[in-house]
């Protein structure tokens, strides 16, 4: 059995602040096999971004602290790896960050930034290159992401380009390092609907063509439905449900997932749902056990213990005592 490309086991992350310790991630686990397209869905503060930051080693520590758990890339433990191995592993993972307008350096031309990425990733793989070669690679990358005038874009500053173009450049920067694993953080949130459509189609195309493994982090359910095979739903630092994306939408089991899906206004015109009662918990004093319990209409006494992941179908797990065997 080959190692999964990325595996997170029972990860717990705390943030030590003046007001107290915030237990932001409470035992989250994730498996991504090579070639899969996985989504992580959740609302603000659920811990999806933090999980990826920890995997990439960019979690701000302090105040963050990984209190327990493992993160493994192809079997290798990222949390205990030495600097050299870590560098090598990181060169095989790429991040498409959120919000292009904040992720591109406004005072450097696009070409410079792109070629810098090529230069640094090559050096971490022990290769050197020359400037001409880098330029060629950069131009190719821009062509691949569908920019019609790569030469001109190379010489532009980010502010001269539209949101959609900036997003394409971020994708190009992620691809140019030839990663095995691509992590996309809110890839289309800042974009207009018609541009979002283009970007999602582009990503689908690229992922299929290059046979990449991709993890998409988003709060937009529509995006995971378009792009992923399997989706994790997180709530307040815990797993709520994980399933094949199709099943998640047609047969969601966890009350939170159901509430979430119901909250999205539908074209069928069913009216507005009143959302989900209650608020996200205070992480410095979270509810014991299932953190959704205070908001759940099916809450039972046993929910004060943390529910294990019950398997309801193949590849469909729900962390909810309603599905206790």
């Amino acid at each position: 059995m080959p190692f999964p490309l990325l595996e997170v086991r029972d990860l717990r992350i705390d943030f030590d602040m003046y007001e107290g310790t915030f237990k932001v991630l409470d035992g989250f686990s994730l498996v991504v096999q090579k070639g899969e397209k996985v989504g992580i869905v959740g609302e603000t503060g659920c811990g999806k971004s933090i999980t990826m930051q920890a995997a990439l080693g960019i979690l701000p520590m302090p105040p963050g602290r990984i209190s327990s758990g493992e993160i493994r890339f192809l079997g290798k433990d990222l949390l205990t790896a030495n600097a050299r191995d870590l560098k090598e592993i990181r060169s095989r993972i790429s991040l498409i960050p959120q919000d292009p307008s904040a992720s591109l350096n406004p005072v450097f031309k696009v070409g410079t930034q792109l070629m810098d990425v090529i230069k640094y990733s090559a050096s971490s793989r022990g290769q050197t290159g020359n400037a001409k070669e880098r330029r060629r690679l950069a131009l190719n990358a821009l062509k691949e992401v569908g920019l019609p005038d790569p030469e001109r874009n190379m010489n532009s500053y980010p502010i001269q380009l539209s949101g959609g173009m900036q997003q394409r450049i971020l994708i190009a920067m992620a691809l140019v390092t030839e990663p095995e694993l691509l992590i996309a953080d809110e890839p289309s949130t800042a974009l207009d609907v018609t541009i979002q459509d283009q970007i999602l189609r582009l990503m689908k195309e690229i992922v299929d063509k290059r046979q990449l493994t991709i993890v998409i982090i988003t709060h937009n359910l529509g995006v995971v439905r378009e792009l992923t095979d399997r989706t994790y739903v997180m709530y307040a630092g815990q797993l709520a449900e994980v399933a094949r994306t199709k099943h998640l939408f047609s047969q969601s089991k966890h009350p939170y997932t159901q509430g979430l899906i119901k909250s999205v206004p539908k074209l069928t015109g069913e009216g507005i749902s009143s959302g989900i009662e209650g608020m996200i918990p205070d992480y410095s004093n979270p509810p014991k056990g299932c953190r959704f319990r205070p908001r759940c209409e099916y809450a039972m006494a046993i929910c004060e213990e943390k529910p294990p992941d019950f398997v309801v179908e193949e590849e469909h797990k729900v962390a909810c005592f309603l599905y206790r065997k």
Binding site: T44, D192, T194, G259, K266
Partner: protein, 340 residues
């Protein structure tokens, strides 16, 4: 047809242009034509959804209505009065009656002011109540938006996005307006919170007989909330219709492109989307408006005349109007004489 209430707001060919800074070595001054000839009317208790992408001018139009911007041209009549011509004294009365809720709850509340101080502002400006009465009224406002009185002393930094937006709504209601401009009031909020705020807005609409101009990019939301929908593109309205009619038969190619690009969650919704129109090209900026019909570079049904002549709004009956050559008299007669 449903009895339309009194006419609250009428816009006639409203335009808002921003002058581009003149360069010393370039001859042309030029304008950003953010709003370029908008006409519609809103009746009492209507919820008009104004939908568009960035650069469409929808927010600019909203700001022009509440006089953050002065219109460059055109007439805006509110409750029969031409707002462009009212004097200072009447202006304050107008401001009492039309308010706005902004998009970003984070910056629509002064971070240095408590909730109470923020809500007191409109009451103080318009000399409503005083002293103890005022505090009571602030409490009332908070309870109307579902916040307990203890929130009065909190600073915005202690509130969640949804709570901040509730305060912003309470502030807008403080002067008992009859018309609210809502500029993407829930775009910055989580999905599970959006529903609560929208439900609140709908409840307030019913209870106080309010009229809304609901500015958004979210068509699915409008399907469930609006009484009529208008689509804006590059400062002009492309299509406007009562909601059911709008979604049943979207006429404008841009509307079709928008609707077919929405990421939906259920298969049922997929069937309701118009045939897939692959969106191409970038959302243009109002600095560089294409000649003729602003949408023609991206239009999948483009004809020769579209790059030369800007179409007029064409009434299609039942309150449905569309600005597109495809539906002009000449075109229809030409087609019918050609084919069959």
């Amino acid at each position: 047809m449903k009895d339309l209430g009194e006419v609250m707001l009428v816009l006639e060919d409203v335009r808002k242009y921003f002058p581009l800074p003149r360069r010393i070595f370039k001859r042309k001054g030029g304008y950003i034509k953010a709003v370029d000839g908008v006409t519609f009317s809103v009746h009492r208790e209507d919820i008009l959804g104004l939908v568009g992408e960035s650069g469409s001018g929808k927010s600019t139009l909203g700001y022009t209505l509440v006089r953050i911007y002065r219109p460059t041209a055109g007439k805006i009549s509110f409750l029969g009065k031409d707002i462009g011509k009212i004097d200072r004294g009447e202006l304050k009365g107008f401001k009492k009656n039309m308010q706005i809720v902004f998009q970003d709850p984070g910056s629509s509340l002064n971070p240095r002011r408590t909730v109470e101080q923020t809500l007191e502002l409109p009451l103080r400006v318009h000399n409503i109540d005083g002293g103890k009465e005022r505090r009571r009224r602030i409490r009332e406002l908070l309870s109307v938006v579902g916040l307990p009185g203890v929130y009065m002393q909190k600073y915005p930094s202690a509130l969640s996005g949804g709570q901040k937006q509730r305060v912003a709504i309470a502030r807008a209601l403080a002067t008992e307006p009859s018309f609210l401009v809502l500029d993407e009031p829930t775009s910055a909020l989580d999905v599970s919170v959006q529903g609560k705020i929208i439900s609140l807005l709908l409840a307030l609409h019913d209870e106080f007989s309010l009229s809304y101009l609901f500015i958004t990019h979210d068509l699915s939301l409008m399907r469930n909330v609006a009484t009529s929908v208008a689509i804006m593109y590059l400062g002009k309205i492309c299509e406007i219709a009562p909601t059911a009619e709008f979604f049943a038969e979207p006429l404008h190619p841009y509307t079709q492109m928008l609707l077919s690009s929405i990421p939906v969650l259920t298969d049922e919704e997929e069937t309701l989307k118009p045939k897939k129109v692959t969106s191409t090209g970038e959302v243009p900026s109002p600095v560089n408006i294409p000649s003729g019909c602003g949408f023609h570079p991206r239009c999948h049904k483009r004809m020769d005349m579209c790059s030369q002549i800007d179409p007029e709004m064409i009434e299609m009956g039942d309150g449905h109007a569309v600005r597109c050559h495809l539906y002009s008299e000449a075109e229809i007669t030409a087609l019918s004489s050609q084919g069959t």
